[in-house]
Symmetry: C2
Subunit: 221 residues, 2 copies
DNA sequence: GTCTATATATCGATAGAC
DNA sequence: GTCTATCGATATATAGAC
């Protein structure tokens, strides 16, 4: 769909769904440079539209990134549901942790829009809403392991989510070393850590620590 | 030390250590607005110097933020060393995880400069270097628990660091709910998760997963 | 309704004067 | 070591063409 060589860059967009084109181009750009360096102007330039055109569809840079984050939450939810669908509860929880890290690596730009964009969650409740269903993938097997105790369920689920998130964040960080070789190893580490947490979950369900809110399972900025 | 009311903002700096003043003002600004919104110009304005002055001391925005990150690594290392100094190895590891989360909450701007600034680690090796000593606080007790097995030591230490980091990131994210009430509860959760990981560490030391680099313990961007 | 053209303001960074 | 002046790039807002 690239138009004939206009001066000043490829013009892949003519007239159509600019909103959708902007989301796709943003994902593309997030894969090339840091999310902090993303700009509406560059997205406009790549699409061959005026820099002001996106403001007809998004109030600003934050709104566009929030739309990408919502999309990321949906895709991550699909992947978690797919990879953590079978097995006993412990296996499903470990598979969810592994899938979380795998998604962060394979879809780095999307994951960063969801969990590393610094978006203010209160100004973009649609992200938290889209992420809410993600938490169910962790909560359901945790509930089975906690034997119906909702407080214990929340603590186990939160611990596994935090562990998976921490592994993903440090992997993208380069803390676990460069290169794709580390990715699958870290995903396996996250799954193993989840199994370890399950084995030692008596520490999590003890009465010595303050309660956590029961519905707080997913990163959003 | 505020000078007499000059027009256009408080002038706290006259002639002296501009480099140090910039680092302190940057930390102050990071506490007021998002790190993404930090600008050299605003730091200059607040100090009452020209916008070009900082470039005598820092090559650019990234260099200034990297200097703040190095300072953050030092302070975090001090706090970890202080709070994880006593007790048996399991207690020290759990205390390190708790202290990690507490630092992230209490020194949010510094922690974000260290772990959430998106700095390219390869372009700022001094950050990784400053963070290296941090890893020792986790590695030493992990080594005692792993009985001298270096691969097992690295896996246990990495898992605890990742879990602590995940709890800290989601806490700052707002995922665990707003307000300072959540902070200490999450810190306790991270400590409990560390104990659970230790209890279930047989899962981490199994031969079924790929090795991780033995010296990769700390977040840097 | 959708997009272009344009104006204003701010930021990062550089060059040269003091 | 700091300032003035300036450049290029950017976000935002407005007015008007299609």
């Amino acid at each position: 769909m690239t138009g004939p060589g206009q001066p000043g860059g490829r013009r892949r967009y003519h007239h159509g769904d600019l909103r959708e084109a902007l989301i796709e181009t943003t994902i593309e750009l997030l894969g090339e440079r840091d999310i902090q360096a993303f700009s509406m102007a560059e997205a406009s330039r790549r699409l061959g539209v005026a820099v002001a055109a996106p403001y007809r569809h998004f109030a600003g840079r934050e709104d566009l990134l929030a739309a990408v984050a919502v999309r990321a939450a949906g895709l991550l939810g699909q992947r978690l549901g797919r990879e953590a669908a079978t097995g006993d509860p412990a296996e499903r929880l470990a598979a969810a942790a592994r899938a979380y890290v795998r998604f962060a690596w394979a879809q780095r730009p999307l994951f960063q829009a969801l969990a590393g964009s610094g978006l203010d969650k209160r100004r973009h409740p649609e992200i938290g809403q889209a992420a809410q269903s993600l938490g169910q993938v962790f909560l359901a097997p945790a509930r089975a392991l906690a034997g119906g105790d909702e407080a214990a369920t929340a603590r186990l689920s939160s611990a596994v989510v935090a562990t998976a998130h921490g592994h993903a964040a440090l992997l993208l960080d380069g803390t676990f070393g460069p290169g794709p070789a580390a990715a699958e190893a870290v995903a396996g580490q996250a799954a193993a850590a989840a199994r370890a947490l399950i084995d030692g979950r008596a520490w999590l369900t003890g009465p010595q620590h303050g309660d956590l809110p029961p519905d707080s399972p997913v990163p959003t900025s």
